[in-house]
Amino acid sequence: MNWPAVKAIYGFEMARAWRTVMQSIFSPVMSTSLYFIVFGAAIGSRIQEIDGVSYGAFIVPGLIMLSLLTQSISNAAFGIYFPRFSGTIFELLSAPVSFVEVLLGYVGAAASKSIILGLIILATAALFVDLQIAHPFWMLTFLVLTAVTFSLFGFIIGIWADGFEKLQLVPLLIITPLTFLGGTFYSISMLPEFWQKVTLFNPVVYLVSGFRWSFYEISDVSVTLSLTMTIAFMLVCLAIIWWIFKTGYRIRN
């Protein structure tokens, strides 16, 4: 195991976040705060409670998930795409590192950044709404699992993308709709029965549901199922990345 390499990559990626602190931290915090003000305070005060939780508080876990997913993906995707684009990836490819070190470095840094971001948003939310966290351990577990899983997914996109457009495509066209339709702003039980069934194909439902449960002990699907689905998605991403490194797909050909 080449630990100095993990440290070097991780340090490099974290330093990049500090250089772009406006983009990596302030702008997601800003946009999430706007959601709180509009949906939580302005509109939320006129919406009735959901499962005994005020609407403003109800959307907090979903909003954190929304940022966590998009930021994990874009952090990790950009982190590996940019060296490919600029050509500096030659050094990574010629270094004595396996996919384990590369992942720990790039995905570890991307996940760390989104976890920090998630916690900042959580703190920001506490300024606007009354928060309670019933299961802090599980809250953190879902936070970390989701950040890692979607950073892995972002890493795959960063390898797959052959232009900046594709890099933006998946987060914008797939993840954002899935998150909005995944119960961020409502409980699935509020949907017509047919759409409730369709929604179960949306992986984000399981993340938001599990995460919300850790706050308020209310969930759309069982917590075990949430956890299982998240871990399953993580394993699929890991398998794809293992294959990418084994075959050199898009990086060594």
């Binding site: 070097a8 050509g87 004595p96």
Partner: protein, 312 residues
């Protein structure tokens, strides 16, 4: 430079066919001896960079094997890659990083513990010390090139690949880089150099390999190559110009140059009988007098051009 005869890099039957169908390398076999400076020459698109990229692990070979210091570059890639340093042809660098950070990063990436004293020494040797806190995007091309060399040296490689190291570098800096490379060789580093500047290979290399259209067409000690393939030319400045060559001189391969005022004779130095005596006797018999005589030897560049053209 004395070169011990053991291989540090061994390339066996390496083929590379890109997804486009282009075959960049055709059954390449090549051995690099420990401690030598090996000059890899070839026209653009001959496969030099592909070959280096395969040895360094950046590109997968379609078939064949490469070992570095006895370690297979695929099965034992950690051991193989950890002793290789690569200075790529393209000036690729993270624009926003500082010189110090990027060189330190490279050392870490290759699994070496931090060693600020060594990095300082490398930066000073490459005249980059006063730029250590500058962002890479603010540096000139020549400086970026040196940063790439510093990055490659930061992890103390035993084998160093220099892919066109002096492209776009001014004459003074080129000479300084050559000194650096010689210094590295003295410290035991094996160097593989690709270059467009044949005089660079002629100046630096112990052995020369020529690659053309994905095939290694020749590997030879530089001096032997110059001796074997280098032709010598004898030039005689005539007292009186000739319009045509006399029939008695037809057996010699002569050319009349400079409006008939110079006779040029190409001969092979390696042969026992160069024909010079016979030529001079024949000229004397014909009553052709000359006022000056000079010989010149073809450069590696001439040899290279002949080689590449011969086989195409």
């Amino acid at each position: 430079m004395k070169v011990t005869m053991d291989r540090i890099v061994s390339v066996r039957n390496v083929n590379k066919i890109y997804a486009s169908g282009h075959q960049a390398l055709k059954s390449v076999n090549l051995d690099i001896q420990r401690g030598e400076i090996f000059g890899l020459l070839g026209p653009n698109g001959a496969g030099k960079t592909t070959l280096i990229s395969i040895i360094c692990g950046i590109v997968n070979a379609t078939s064949g094997h490469v070992s570095v210091n006895g370690h297979d570059t695929r099965n034992a890639f950690r051991a193989a890659r950890s002793i290789i340093g690569l200075v790529p042809q393209e000036l690729t660098a993270d624009a926003f990083e500082t010189v110090w950070d990027t060189v330190t990063f490279s050392r870490g990436l290759f699994g070496k513990k931090p060693n600020p004293a060594l990095i300082e020494e490398i930066l000073k040797d490459l005249s980059l010390w006063d730029k250590k806190n500058d962002q890479l995007m603010t540096l000139s091309g020549g400086m970026k090139r040196r940063v790439l060399i510093a990055k490659a040296l930061s992890h103390e490689p035993k084998v160093l690949f220099l892919d066109e190291p002096t492209a776009g570098v001014d004459v003074e800096l080129r000479k300084a880089m050559w000194d650096t490379v010689r210094g590295l060789q003295k410290s035991g580093v094996t160097i593989i150099l690709t270059t467009h500047y044949i005089d660079e290979a002629e100046e630096m290399a112990d052995r020369i390999g020529v690659i053309r259209a994905g095939e290694i067409i020749l590997v030879e000690e530089k001096n032997a190559l110059m001796h074997k393939l280098g032709r010598k030319e004898l030039r005689l400045d005539l007292r009186a110009p000739l319009t045509t060559l006399p029939d008695n001189l037809a057996e010699f391969e002569l050319t009349l140059n400079d409006d008939g005022s110079a006779l040029c004779y190409n001969y092979d130095r390696a042969k026992e009988h160069t024909g010079i005596n016979a030529l001079l006797t024949a000229l004397s018999n014909e009553g052709i007098a000359f006022r000056d005589i000079e010989t010149s030897q073809s450069s590696l560049e001439d040899i290279f051009v002949d080689l590449v053209n011969d086989q195409s």
